[in-house]
Amino acid sequence: MSGTYFDRRHEHTRPLSRFLIFGLAVIVGLSALTARLFYLQVLNGAQFTALSDGNRTVVQAIPSSRGLIYDRSGAALVINVPTFAVKIRPADLPEERRDEVVSRLSALIGTPIPDINAAIDGNPGSRFDLVRVAQDVPKGTANLIAEAGFDLPGVEVVVEARRQYAEGPLLSQILGYTGPVTAEQIEELKKTGYLPDDLIGKTGLEAYYEKDLRGMYGEETVERDAAGRKLQVLDTVAEAQAGNSLRLTIDTKEQKLAQQALQWGMKTAGVKRGVVIVMNPQTGEVLAMVSLPTYDNNSFARGISAQDFAGLLANPDKPLLNHAVSAHYPPGSTYKLVAGTGALADKKITPWTRVQTKPYLSIGPTKFWEWNHRGWGGCDLDCGFGHSSDTYFFQLAAMLGIDRLGYWAKEYGFGAPTGIDLPGEVSGIVPTNEWKLQALGDEIFPGEVYQAGIGQGYDVVTPLQLINAYAALANGGRLYEPRLVHDVVGPDGQVIKPFEPTLIRQLDVKPSVLKEMREAARSTVLLRHTYNLVDLPIVIAGKSGTAEFGTRDSKGRLPFDSWFIGFTPKDPTKKASDPTGAKALAKGDSELVVLAFAYDSRTVGNMATEIVKYYMQLHYGIKNDYRNFDLLERGNFYQSN
């Protein structure tokens, strides 16, 4: 600049000071900018470069393919099918546009607006994670959403695999279903690679074998833009490993026959809850397991609505519960197996010891009635067990005492889970003095010992425990762990864990004792206690039970459940050389034991026997129909049978 004075050439004031101050302002401004730039770019350049890179690259999980489930013969029961899921990344959804986007999305996919908002807000992960909003969206809708990118910021369509259960309700109780991980679970699970919107097995085999089925997620480093869109894969850190597959012991054909028999029984008698189990006593393999009412696990795979789920939960007969393992009931007369075995093993009686059966026994003023109010006079084991005499077994129970009776019950596996590969198994109760002291503060009363001997009172068992005990009887003394999965197979088809029967224990009795009990079980059939079951062209042995529970009605009657367990020798054909079938049963080579349970049956006859009879007819292809439909009519049954 030139001129620092009032220059004559110019006619106006030129305040130099102002110019200088302005110039100073320019210098100050530029200096402030320079200083800040120096701070950002030079001093902290490296840190910002890292942040800039961090924006770009992200380590992403590569989902693995979930293992499949096959039945005994190799038919696929559960497969994965591709499906479109709609997800939202909350961080990419601008707050001021949220309402607009959510309502547009709701109109497109049909999910109610509050559900979408709940999913976004209830997200357990960070705002940069994807939240599932709808699954199994039709292809056309998926395309619409994908194309509407700018109108629906933060919304992504993702191809996912979902489960498809080939047989639906037939095997729901066994297979279970998968569902989203909960907020509580994800805390723990993210350490093992679970993502906040992952699916995890919730019930059944899907849950029990989650680790095997899931496989291992892989990892890749991905370059992405601010919208979270994957631009390119930079590096695959680890490949995904597909999950292992399961080959079950379940025979789909037998499962269908079992369900057919149970459904017939329940429909004819108007009964709401029932169980049928079919096992191979030689190995513990479960060939069929039916629990009704049930549900279709495909509705969970497709994303069940909150309403439908509430409906299932509200149903008093608990369709979501596997009654075979997760519920316990009084066993009734089927429990006489325990007192019988115990009394023989402890040498309290021999098979020929005559025990006097009576119309009732008394303890003080209380009468403990025989079920037919008469008795059969002097009874040996076959008579007592074959007629299911209550007074016979009252006395056997008294001979053993409650604690010894409890010992034998536990020997048979009662009071503890069987260890089957299903979640949610309950233990049941075996009453002993110790148990009652802890639970109720008192010792067992003598009347309760009687009750325990005939499977009433405090004892409760699961259907699986009961069939497992009779399996041990049928095979000559080996109590196995029931199994649903035969082989665990790797993704390449190699068997990883081949099947091995797992022995819980060898029953601590002489084989002759069990042979005698098997004969007693044959007596049940021979003495026509089970009516025309003996007329079937096969050798069948077993035990029925009618277990009372609950409160008396206006006529003083108690509701009751019906049980029947039956088993056949390996060669079940009747032979002239073996008229009673005793020789066949003596071998202990049975490969088939079947249990039926009907809850609150209130039929004239034991409907569980009819169900097993029907199953046997179907299984062995017996042409004639021996079913007694009239036994399934409503009516009062004997007090105990």
Binding site: M1, G3, R9, H10, E11, H12, T13, R14, P15, R18, F19, I21, F22, G23, A25, V26, I27, G29, L30, A32, L33, T34, R36, L37, F38, L40, Q41, V42, N44, G45, A46, Q47, F48, T49, L51, S52, D53, N55, R56, A91, P94, E95, E96, E223, R224, D225, A226, A227, L231
Partner: protein, 376 residues
């Protein structure tokens, strides 16, 4: 050609401030380079019609013509047309409010054919002209309060019209122009102090009654970036990441990953500086600041040399506008200023801004070259 004419043209040429033109041209070139980088990253072919680069070239061409016209134009005519120009300014602003459109229901852009025009940019230059006329005509009375009040009254109507749009950034620029020109006019510092004090005192009123929510939000998230990591806080944060990651030398042209990957939300206009700083680093930043400093210096020199009070006032106004916009826009990008919608002169893509700068610099050149015609 007569001797006299040759001498006149020679004198005129000597008085033409080549440096000012050169610095401005370099800044425009940088703006075009940034447009190129922006277009390259869009993934389309650079010379395709409609890309930022091609549009930038077009506006540069137009601005060059405007510049030449403004330089040739005798600036004294501006005094004659003072009131019509004022009417024009108000007219443009009213038109913007009437048929303009913009983000979120605002009215900032007027569509003329395929182009969107931001008239408030022109309004700024017109404001400078009008104030320069006014203050230039009040020689001898500049110390009095009435001059200050008069200037304020001239600014109030356009200011209100701009605030209605709403365009907080432009309204602040108008205030900066007013303040700078009043200061440089030699107005009484005492009264200026009162004016500034009054403005500060009325800030709470402004906050409550005048500022919109998103404008308040921008100020709040400037002061506390963590409070809004989704909206304005996010933009500020991403911008600083971009700038900081430039380091000494920058990542290289077209290599700005922040912008390439869409991390800067409004990358075509206000945050261009962030991309520049990311791609060309601290040295690039220094180049930019040196050019701006040099340009401002030449503008002030023109003002000092002007034998016409209009010239000095006009230079002051232009310098105030450019300095304010530079500091606020660059400051916003590097995190020492709140987010405003103020473009960086020459660099931010936008035809109106470039045209109005061309008008301004052209008028200043016109003042320069006519200082030598002592006899006219």
């Amino acid at each position: 050609m007569t001797d006299w004419a040759a001498r006149s043209i020679g004198a005129a040429w000597r008085a033409f401030d080549l440096q000012m033109a050169a610095y401005a041209a370099l800044l425009v070139a940088i703006g075009l380079v940034m447009a190129y980088s922006n277009s390259a990253e869009q993934g389309r072919s650079i010379l395709e019609g409609g890309t930022t680069f091609v549009r930038g070239l077009m506006w540069t061409g137009i601005a060059l013509i405007v510049y030449i016209v403004a330089t040739s134009f005798d600036y004294k005519w501006l005094k004659t047309f003072s009131w019509p120009l004022y009417a024009l300014q108000l007219g443009l602003l009213v038109t913007t409010l009437a048929i303009g459109h913009g983000v979120g229901g605002s009215a900032r852009w007027v569509s003329i054919g395929p182009f969107d025009f931001q008239f408030s940019e022109l309004a700024k230059i017109l404001m400078i002209i009008i104030l320069a006329n006014y203050l230039g005509a009040r020689q001898g009375r500049l110390g009095s309060l009435s001059s200050i009040i008069g200037a304020c009254l001239l600014v109030v109507p356009p200011w209100i019209l701009v605030m209605i749009q709403p365009d907080l950034g432009t309204s602040l620029v108008l205030l900066a122009i007013l303040g700078g020109m009043l200061f440089m006019s030699g107005a009484s510092l005492r009264w200026l102090g009162v004016l500034v004090g009054g403005a500060l005192a009325s800030f709470p009123l402004i906050w409550t009654y005048i500022l919109r929510d998103y404008q308040k939000q921008r100020i709040v998230s400037f002061l506390d970036p963590a409070s809004d990591m989704q909206g304005a806080g996010y933009q500020l944060f991403q911008s600083q990441i971009a700038v900081g990651s430039g380091g000494w030398f920058g990542k290289g042209l077209t290599n700005g990953t922040q912008n390439q990957l869409n991390f800067l939300p409004v990358q075509e206009s206000d945050f261009v500086a962030a991309i520049y700083l990311e791609e060309l680093g601290f040295l690039g930043a220094m180049l930019l600041l040196v050019l701006f400093g040099a340009l401002l210096w030449r503008i002030l020199v023109s003002g000092w040399r002007s034998r016409d009070p209009f010239g000095m006032m006009f230079a002051s106004g232009l310098a105030s506008m450019i300095l304010f916009q530079l500091v606020v826009n660059l400051g916003m990008v590097i995190g020492i200023m709140p987010i405003t919608g103020i473009p960086l002169p020459f660099i931010s893509h936008g035809g109106a801004s470039l045209i109005s700068l061309a008008v301004g610099l052209g008028i200043l050149q016109s003042v320069n070259i006519r200082q030598t015609r002592a006899e006219w």
